[in-house]
């Protein structure tokens, strides 16, 4: 294990971190506004990836064209879940929503399995030769993931800071009552938050599938590191999610230098637990 190997792991870590970041932004936004941890988030990722896969496999479209389709599917299913179930449960305790989202996760995952079958699938047929930079290797897919994440994160930033809806979201996340008093239509903001969170999750799912493979369990397995990233950045803080995602991603990949790769999720969990003990409000969080 020399410096090159560690750098290589760091590159993989940044790629994984990008995927986790996109997932964690959605979890964090939803938490900020609805005060509950969405356990169906990972399975929305899976659904988005499979929707994009359907476009790629039936229309032979390139992945970058299928990505928006996957994102729209993720947004629509999230909004539908909210309108059919969550909306009616919002007045009860947030924990009831949490149980419901746990059930929703299983519903979405079984639907994906019923439609596409339990076997592994892949966006890319055959093996693309990785590009070499000195002794380091990066695959074209990984460059797509990095580039795509940067574009999406900038778009989310512009949305949250420049549009009325984005500002309303941040206002509701900061102080629900105050936001309502100023005349913000809470229901509308909630629907938009579901749409945005679902679209981002779907993008994360497409990227995860591009980096590995499609399986019905892919999103659920990513949920724990995504929660870890969201907690690390401070729940309810979308910008913290970026920092959290990168730290968890790099830490998980670097851990393979000393631990068997099977323990990657355990590393994410360990970082999260240390964080919870040392600074429970997250790196960028001060409130609550």
């Amino acid at each position: 294990m020399d410096v090159t190997d560690l750098l290589q792991l760091a590159i993989y870590g940044v790629v994984l971190g990008s995927i986790l970041t996109l997932g964690a932004i959605g979890v964090s936004l939803l938490f900020g506004i609805l005060r509950f941890s969405n356990f169906a988030h990972g399975d929305i990722m899976t659904l988005g990836a499979y929707a994009a896969f359907a476009v790629v496999s039936t229309l032979h479209a390139p992945v970058w064209l299928a990505l928006p389709v996957g994102m729209i599917a993720g947004a629509l299913v999230s909004v539908a879940a909210d309108q059919l179930v969550y909306r009616r449960l919002r007045r009860t305790q947030p924990v009831i929503l949490l149980i419901s989202s746990f059930g929703m996760a299983l519903i979405i995952r079984s639907l994906v399995q019923l439609v596409w079958g339990p076997q592994d699938r892949s966006f890319v047929k055959g093996i693309d030769m990785p590009m070499h930079f000195g002794d380091l290797m990066v695959s074209p897919q990984q460059l797509w993931i990095l580039g795509g994440t940067i574009v999406i994160v900038i778009a989310v930033h512009l949305f949250l800071t420049r549009t009325r809806m984005g500002k309303a979201m941040r206002a509701m996340s900061d102080n629900m009552d105050l936001a309502r008093v100023t005349g913000i239509d809470a229901e509308k903001v909630i629907v938009w938050t579901w749409a945005l969170g679902g679209a981002l999750a779907a993008a994360a799912g497409v990227f995860l599938a591009l980096d590995t493979r499609l399986t019905p369990m892919m999103g659920w397995s990513a949920l724990l590191p995504i929660f870890a990233a969201a907690i690390l950045g401070g729940f309810g803080k979308p910008y913290g999610a970026i920092v959290g995602g990168m730290i968890i991603g790099v830490a998980s990949e670097m851990s393979t230098a000393v631990l068997p790769p099977a323990y990657k999720p355990a590393t994410a969990f360990a970082v999260m637990v240390i964080m919870l003990v040392v600074k429970p409000n997250g790196l960028l969080g001060a409130r609550r």
Binding site: S37, V95, L98, F102, L106, I107, L224, V273, L276
Partner: protein, 321 residues
């Protein structure tokens, strides 16, 4: 015809035994969630600990896994409960002071790590090959074992019901309903939460041990962690969270429904049979949403104390304080 009948009877015994084991776990979750409001979705982790402890303590010595201590059934149950409780204590130490979401996420993490460790550390439980040959106590006859399990279920029910009615149980309900109020009344919230969390996890370990002796085999994949955890949650919510009778009733009803969906999916054309488990999970997921929307209090709602307590009961409350 007689063959059919005996087949049916043995299926019935099988069904009842598993339902009773789930009843024990459902009671355990009721201690944590129903009575105290602690959100544990790592049930499968504690269940697995219990099952492995029973396997390691009661099987004869073996080079392929830890122990093989060859001790009796009862010793296995004790160790299963002790180790589950110990793990729960450490999880609680880290998370019980935090918000409920964090406990939920931490319990999922713990159960995932337990599964990873059991899968990758061959020296503990023979890795993915698992541990076989876990004998049933007294006799291999499934009817005898059903009686044993029902006995444990009854004992657990009376213990948990007694705890619920005790001053201790009332404090748990108080801090579930109004944390600040309970704190203002001088109750150490953290200590009560820890006790409920550890007790519930110990009973989950007990359930796992009963399961190991019934099936005779444990492996990291034998538990289908997500389904086991999810199914217990559906059982408790359907039966009536906070009500111990409801917890047991929910376990039996949902286990029969869950087993019934298998008969249903077996009728599917051969091409779709492999998809049967996905369809069953889909049905049970939809069932949970319907229960949450239509009857969130469950089949047997929690008995709430009457508002405006009689003088006798308020005097009693003062005695405890």
């Amino acid at each position: 015809m007689s063959i059919d009948l005996s087949g049916l009877a043995s299926y019935g015994v099988f069904l009842l035994t598993l339902a009773a084991i789930y009843g024990v776990v459902s009671l355990a979750l009721n201690v944590q969630w129903g009575m105290t409001g602690l959100f544990n979705i790592g049930i499968a982790g504690f269940y697995a600990i219990g099952a492995y402890c029973a396997a390691i303590v009661t099987t004869p010595p073996s080079p392929s896994h830890l122990g093989g201590l060859g001790l009796p059934f009862g010793a296995g149950l004790m160790v299963a409960m002790a180790v589950s409780g110990l793990v729960a204590f450490f999880v609680g130490l880290l998370t019980l002071k935090l918000r409920e979401d964090y406990l939920a996420i931490a319990t999922i993490g713990i159960s995932e790590i337990i599964r990873l460790v059991l899968k990758n550390e061959d020296w503990i439980g023979n890795g993915v090959r698992g541990i076989a040959g876990i004998a049933r106590p007294l006799s291999a006859n499934p009817l005898v074992y059903l009686a044993v399990v029902l006995l444990v279920l009854a004992a657990t029910y009376f213990a948990v019901e007694r705890a619920r009615k005790s001053p201790w149980g009332r404090v748990l309900r108080a801090l579930r309903e109004n944390e600040l109020g309970a704190q203002a009344a001088g109750k150490n919230i953290y200590r009560f939460r820890m006790e409920a969390f550890v007790l519930g996890s110990m009973i989950m370990g007990l359930g796992g041990a009963l399961y190991a002796h019934f099936i005779g085999f444990v492996s990291p994949e034998a538990f289908e962690p997500v389904f086991a955890t999810f199914l217990v949650w559906v059982m408790l919510i359907a039966g009536g969270s906070g009500n111990n009778k409801g917890a047991v009733l929910g376990a039996f009803v949902i286990w029969v429904v869950w087993s019934g969906t298998e008969l249903l999916t077996n009728q599917l054309p051969a091409d779709y049979v492999t998809q049967g488990s996905a369809l069953r999970v889909l049905l049970i997921g939809v069932l949970l949403q319907v229960i949450l929307l239509r009857r969130p209090e469950g089949l047997l709602p929690e008995e709430r104390p009457h508002v405006g307590a009689s003088p006798a009961s308020s005097a009693e409350a003062e005695d405890e304080a």
